[in-house]
Subunit: 324 residues, 2 copies
């Protein structure tokens, strides 16, 4: 077990020491054509966490959480609820660690995400797609198995693990970043990134789809929005920001930029075409935010980091821009 | 100008010194799930040249060819014929070098490839999609401009440039490769790879679609097939193997494995889903070959390198597996 228990930059550094040998060091990809396409002409560095194990940054928080368990806890296994990337990440991390994994998934989860969780050997229990059904089903699974709950975002070890993506990006870029932009759903990546940026001078921004903009709204009204009626293509960002995550974000994040689904799809298509990367809609919010007039109006000088959160897309269906 | 003029491993090394600062050092991506999916259980390292400048390995040969020109030649510019990645690569390399670029493209070239060449500032002349029309149009362009012809594959400097991808991959992998597999169209990448592998013990294989298997046929009959009636989804591999390329391949390549378009599409889909990379059909031939029973029957022990040749796909159209 590592000593990382606090929501601080050194907590993220300790988490990185703990998981460094377990995670992929994903590439930081510069694109001169995308950089030149924007008024600010900032050099853009895309941290390709879609190339992370399990296809998303979530593997960082999941493996950090696992490493922090006792031997006894590991023997009883881990459990979680998630419709997507966290479930796959935890299942894979548990498989690599030889621990059992139990996942509660809403019955309307996408087929590829269900298939991934299954392929990583986790036991799936389906539930109705409501918060109440999810909590009750998870409680039953825990009572039956004694497994430890590893939350998808609202937990210290998860947040610290997610923050390691920025630490790695800062090591990889040839020049100091002026800013970094990441998607916000539950806020694990954004809170972790903000902690990792502490004292570095890197300005931190979140990106949120208009159809699930609870974090931006919470920052405006000065209190966390605890419920969200999500209506967005960004399936990874439909959850409200977490209770632990919100105060970190409120204290350390400069702004959360809200983008429309149309802007997300446009950014996503550009990323597929120019970066040659399969990225999911949630991931494209960050680049969409950088392309927005709100961000460009800040007139930031210097390179901008963009964390690509994941690449788990149902490729059997037409891509979103093909529908039109 | 570098001193690389011979079709030898040291020629490839000299080419690499020349272009090292001009090309992207593309990532070498390991996939435990794809590696574990095959009987041989070889660790697979994918060299992601789809993330190269211009979206394909072709930038290596194009920039090497440009570096080998005299100042006087550069001032008059370069020209080529190509329906695809070589045109984009040469246009981009010329743009970065400040040289004019003239491209002859068949009138049925794909829209994204035309758009890319145009975006890189090259002047396009369209011609009928026949070899005769192409040659006549190119001759007219050369007569008018005095530009130097940079061939897509059948030239020493091109071959040496393409070989640098394997040199880089060998630097990147943590253990010696047992084999490397690359797609064959004109044979620039395969001949260059074979030269780069010389003396390293790495076994070299080509991968060719059944609908344009002139190289495999030429090896069987002991003489180059000079004409090919291509019928394959692999738009980058429809050309016959080059006159300079064939003898290098014949002497140094262990085998060229032929795969069906169905196998290509299956491999391509797996690469999109698991590697999260946008790869074009031509690129998927190499992984399709590694998945084939012909390759698996060789019972090769040790890691296998696969060079992903490019990622230029028309994303406005349904993906090939969506048609079904």
């Amino acid at each position: 077990m590592s000593q990382a228990t606090e929501l601080t930059r050194s907590g993220v550094e300790a988490a990185y020491e703990t998981i460094k040998s377990l995670v992929h060091r994903t590439p930081a990809i510069a694109s001169s054509s995308l950089s030149a396409s924007l008024p600010g002409q900032n050099t853009l560095y895309f941290k390709a966490e879609n190339l992370q194990k399990g296809g998303a940054f979530k593997f960082r928080g999941a493996s950090h959480s696992l490493e922090r368990l006792t031997q006894d806890q590991l023997q009883r296994g881990v459990c979680t609820h998630s419709s997507g990337n966290h479930a796959g990440a935890l299942a894979l991390a548990a498989k690599e660690r030889g621990a059992a994994c139990y996942v509660v998934m809403p019955s309307n989860s996408s087929q590829p995400k269900i298939a991934a969780v299954r392929a990583y050997g986790a036991a799936i229990t389906f539930c109705e797609p409501t918060a109440a059904a999810r909590a009750a089903t998870l409680a039953a699974v825990q009572a039956r198995t004694g497994a430890t709950f590893v939350p998808p975002y609202d937990a210290v070890d998860t947040i610290l693990g997610q923050g390691t993506a920025l630490l790695e990006l800062l090591e990889q870029v040839p020049e100091p970043l002026a800013a970094v932009v990441v998607p916000v759903g539950g806020g694990g990546l954004l809170a972790g990134t903000a902690l990792a940026a502490d004292g570095t001078g890197v300005r931190v921004f979140g990106a949120e789809p208009a159809g699930a903009a609870d974090c931006a709204q919470g920052l405006r009204q000065g209190a966390r929005v605890e419920d969200v009626q999500a209506d967005t293509i960004c399936d990874g960002l439909r959850t409200p920001v977490g209770a632990l995550n919100f105060p970190v974000i409120r204290q350390r994040v400069e702004d959360v930029i809200v983008v429309s689904d149309e802007e997300v799809v446009e950014a996503m298509r550009l990323m597929w075409e120019r970066l040659k990367l399969v990225v999911e809609p949630s991931s494209a919010t960050a680049f969409a935010a950088v392309r927005s007039s709100a961000f460009q109006a800040l007139n930031i000088k210097g390179p901008v980091g963009i964390i690509i959160s994941g690449g788990n897309v149902d490729l059997s269906k037409p891509l979103p821009w093909m529908d039109k």
